[in-house]
């Protein structure tokens, strides 16, 4: 347990961004502040800053993703980096090449940053432990473990709307067990000091040792949503039905789908979030998803400055002090 946090360099600066767990509150606040200062860039007519000029960012996606990959690509381009998209779900690794071989081949092209999405928990940690020392690794989702940039853009959205974290009650609804988004959100919310984190779902979708995450668990919406300030809905994967975790979508929507009636027990100004893509009529009613309490589209917009912030901070740890000042 006394192992060094591989996410930080010798000066405790962010080197890799793999998981929220183990990062201090100040680090998360720095990310949010940097994202705030970069959010102006995306609204200018020339939407670029030179923070990553001359750097090459590689999107290494071992699992399909459109939204996350696109926002990372856009974020990297707005930092003036060159971007290479490597889609690995069907390429080298299925030909028997090991993950390390793949990495070394891409490293040999002199890249500076890997954005990694992988179906196995711990893959980003594994890659960070084995890459050349000049490369930063950003986790864009590993198995059920973590999706820390999504969590940070959610924190950014919450801070924009609510201002402060300390008095907030937050409920996360749905498939907690399989959700890397939920795990990262929980770590971020507790590090930022919210008053209470609740998870809501049937017992088949709540981890059996949820208390290890420091959350309260509820099996019904009327108790779980009572007086909450933030409602985070999670996406339900269709395969949960075939795995005998749920009977059908209809029953799920009836019990856990977010409707006007269910939302009524939350605080009147409760905000509604969803990491997308939405299954309308399964997790959430359209009138809520498109309604005034929903911030779902803002979340998408915020993905860009937050990812820009994280990428530029991680890259700075590789620059000598003088270059950092110039940047």
């Amino acid at each position: 347990m006394d192992k060094q946090n591989i996410q930080l360099d010798d000066n405790k600066r962010l080197r890799h961004f793999l998981s929220i767990e183990g990062l201090k509150r100040q680090m998360l606040t720095d990310i949010l502040d940097t994202a705030e200062s970069l959010s102006g860039v995306t609204e200018q007519s020339v939407k670029k800053v030179p923070l990553l000029r001359g750097k090459t960012v590689v999107n290494l996606f071992f699992e399909p993703s459109t939204r996350t990959r696109t926002t990372f690509e856009l974020a990297a381009k707005r930092l003036s980096a060159d971007v290479l998209n490597v889609n690995l779900e069907v390429s080298a690794t299925s030909k028997g090449e090991t993950l390390l071989d793949t990495l070394q081949n891409i490293e040999a092209m002199h890249c500076d940053m890997f954005i990694v999405r992988h179906p196995n928990s711990g893959a980003a940690h594994f890659i960070a432990r084995h890459v050349a020392p000049h490369i930063s690794v950003i986790n864009a989702g590993d198995g059920r473990h973590a999706h820390p940039t999504q969590a940070m853009l959610d924190m950014f959205t919450i801070r924009r709307v609510k201002g402060d974290f300390h008095k907030l009650r937050v409920a996360i609804v749905g498939d907690i067990l399989h959700s890397r988004v939920a795990r990262s959100q929980i770590h971020a919310l507790s590090t930022l000091g919210v008053e209470e984190i609740r998870v809501i779902g049937p017992r088949t979708l709540i981890p059996s040792h949820y208390e290890a995450l420091g959350v309260h668990a509820y099996n019904n919406m009327s108790d779980g949503l009572r007086d909450v300030d933030v409602v985070i809905m999670l996406r339900l994967q269709h395969e949960r039905m075939s795995n005998a975790l749920l009977p059908d979508e209809h029953e799920y929507f009836r019990l856990y789908g977010l409707t006007r009636d269910k939302l009524a027990v939350a605080k009147p100004d409760a905000m509604v979030m969803h990491p997308g893509p939405i299954n309308r009529g399964v997790e959430i009613e359209s009138s809520i998803a498109d309604g005034p309490q929903s911030v779902i589209l803002q979340q998408v917009t915020h993905g860009i400055p937050v990812r820009m912030a994280i990428m530029s901070m991680a890259m700075q740890s590789h620059m000598p002090a003088t270059a950092r000042e110039e940047a």
């Binding site: 090991t98 390390l100 196995n120 928990s121 711990g122 198995g143 059920r144 059996s208 040792h209 290890a212």
Partner: protein, 426 residues
């Protein structure tokens, strides 16, 4: 060869000897302990003052990788590691390639071990053909070829009817069935204990019930068939209590635990350390304590290594996709001694779980220094500290989380059939 080991502290749990004596070896067998016959002259004499002299260790579970996976290890390489570790008898599970479901494979293993000459290797035969869980193996022929028991290794059996019949058929031939108690449906794609660490790391968990359901099923079938069952590598405190109850009720069941399950817990997996990726998974602190309690109260009568050497690449991947297992022969004795120190189990009882206990489970004449038996002897310095590292490891597999641990208790000499097969260099 005639050898004399002088002034050693002899611990022979089978004969309840725990005292300083001389021991004489003649013609590959123990000649005498204590009173050496007048006129005995030794060609080879060892001063064992300050050292413990005990029967050669018997390891119930060691994967030697041969035949079929020689890139991981060979019988020659691993029996050399065994000799270095004071282990003189190794029992290997049937999941070699080809599988030990025909007499020829068992014979090959005997031949290779004999050629290497560093340790005795006893194969377990497959319970079902190809370990596929559907058709019974030719257990009688396997027994004739020297298989000391039968096992389906880690593979599941098709259904409980096949399970019951396999047990009945094994009982027909007085073969002990070695079981790895895991319900494969409940274990599903899990790779760690379903506990706090699985929840935090988002790794798929294997619940405690995967073991307890399998133990309950096995116990019900033992009652039905009367077959002798040995549970390999228990991992949960609950299963230990179930087996304690079954033994109290007089069922013919026994159990072992691996040395690493006595020391590591799910917390050692934090940081996705693939060297701690093992099956059954490392469980909670409470489970580890329960395993130690089972060892203390005699429910568990053997400590095995569950030795699984791998090539480096097998552990270089994201956690759940890495191969399971630890290269464990060289830490068996020091970890067992450490368990004794930490849990207040006396040295004789710990050594019993490495000698007399496993020998009784196998039903072989080993694990004792009784005059007349083959002279398999381990001589170790109980006070010597040493550190295991990749340079001094003898096993071909270097996959162990115990690298750089300071270990207490180092083997100085190992005798197999009265021949010295290992002598420490320094």
């Amino acid at each position: 060869m005639r050898a004399l080991i002088r002034n050693g502290h002899i611990i022979d749990p089978a004969n309840q000897i725990d005292a300083i004596h001389d021991i004489a070896i003649d013609n590959g067998r123990i000649l005498a302990v204590g009173q050496i016959p007048g006129g005995f002259t030794a060609e080879h004499s060892i001063d064992a003052s300050g050292l413990i002299v005990c029967p050669g260790l018997v390891d119930l579970r060691a994967h030697l990788r041969e035949p079929g996976q020689e890139h991981k290890a060979t019988i020659a390489s691993e029996t050399r590691a065994a000799a270095r570790s004071g282990i003189t008898t190794l029992c290997c599970p049937p999941n070699t390639q080809p599988i030990i479901d025909t007499p020829a494979v068992a014979t090959l293993i005997y031949d290779q071990a004999h050629a290497a000459g560093m340790a005795r290797v006893l194969p377990l035969g497959a319970l079902t053909q190809g370990l596929a869980g559907t058709q019974l193996s030719a257990m009688h022929a396997l027994k004739e070829a020297g298989c000391v028991g039968v096992s389906n290794a880690m593979a599941p059996l098709g259904n409980n009817l096949i399970y019951q019949r396999a047990m009945e058929y094994a009982a027909t031939h007085q073969l002990t069935v070695f079981l790895h108690a895991e319900d494969s449906a409940l274990a599903d794609k899990g790779c760690v204990h379903n506990g706090a660490v699985a929840t935090r790391l988002g790794l798929p968990g294997i619940p405690t019930a995967a073991e307890t359901v399998a133990v309950a099923t096995a116990l019900a079938l033992v009652e039905e068939t009367g077959v002798r069952i040995h549970f390999s590598m228990l991992s949960t405190a609950r299963a230990v209590r179930m087996i304690a109850r079954a033994r109290y009720d007089g069922l013919p069941v026994s159990a072992d635990v691996s040395a690493h399950h006595l020391h590591l817990t799910e917390l050692d997996v934090l940081d996705f350390d693939s060297s701690c990726h093992v099956r059954p998974p490392l469980r909670s602190q409470r489970d580890r304590d329960g395993l130690r309690e089972g060892l203390r109260d005699g429910t568990i009568t053997a400590i095995c290594s569950d030795h699984q050497p791998h090539e480096p690449d097998a552990k270089l991947a994201p956690f759940s996709t890495t191969a399971t297992g630890i290269s464990a022969l060289e830490t068996l004795l020091p970890l067992a001694l450490k368990t004794g120190n930490e849990s207040n189990i006396n040295r004789s009882a710990i050594l019993a779980s490495l000698t007399k206990g496993p020998a009784a489970i196998l039903g072989i004449e080993a694990g004792t220094l009784t005059p007349g038996v083959r002279a398999d002897i381990c001589i170790f310095d109980p006070d010597r500290y040493w550190t295991l590292n990749k340079n001094n490891m003898v096993s071909q597999g270097h996959n162990t989380p115990f690298l750089d641990w300071e270990l207490q208790g180092q083997v100085r000499y190992t005798f197999l059939n009265g021949q010295c097969v290992f002598e420490a260099a320094d």
